[in-house]
Symmetry: C2
Subunit: 125 residues, 2 copies
């Protein structure tokens, strides 16, 4: 469904993007799996796993903040890089209010994920 600019293949364990890095490309899983993980006091905690057809990387796309988590291939994984131009054209046409509303959702998602990890850590799960 999404327009793909190019595809890339990652081997098991290869990092697609790293927590804290800059970059705001969005991706779609074409085959394989992508694990989204965060480092909490040196421990790698998997937050989500994405499967073919699912997109990821959209948080940094919307709020232009560094990557909040690391994306790693699980098994040989092919990801499509979503064509930026189409999205950029649409995003730039949105009013300041609408853009702010979208950033609000992403900031809440970042914050809720942090709270979840903090709670997981404290509960020793």
């Amino acid at each position: 469904m999404f327009q793909i600019a190019s595809s890339e293949t990652f081997m098991d364990g290869q990092v697609i993007f790293a927590e804290g890095a800059n970059g705001d490309w969005m991706y779609v899983v074409e085959s394989g799996e992508v694990e989204i993980s965060k480092n909490v006091d040196g421990r790698r905690i998997v937050v989500e796993t994405f499967y073919p057809g699912e997109i990821f990387g959209e948080m940094a796309y919307i709020d232009k903040m560094p990557r909040s988590a690391t994306a790693t291939a699980k098994g040989t994984t092919e990801v499509g890089i979503i064509d930026r131009q189409i999205f950029d054209t649409e995003y730039n046409k949105l009013s300041a209010d609408f853009q702010q509303m979208l950033r609000t959702v992403v900031i809440r998602l970042r914050r809720t994920t942090m709270k979840l990890l903090q709670t997981l850590k404290e509960s020793g799960t």
Copy 2:
């Protein structure tokens, strides 16, 4: 900043919208505070508190699902109902891909909030 269609005043403890209800208006806090809470096994857990200038209710606006949490006034609170028409016009102009990307973020926020509450419950916090 947001265009307000009308304002409404709620007394302390009054519900602005309830978890599970339909409705997709977005609001902005004008004065007072708004508590966002979820019912977990009969216990009311406050997920977030919003202050003047912050918007809320945008999740149901984007994904058209029932309200995932209850919004309650804390103290006498005035909220502005955001003018729908302006947002609707913009939203309807977005491509199916862009809309799907936005729904994805909201679905992730709903899911992460559920995981957080589940973890809080299990850890007995």
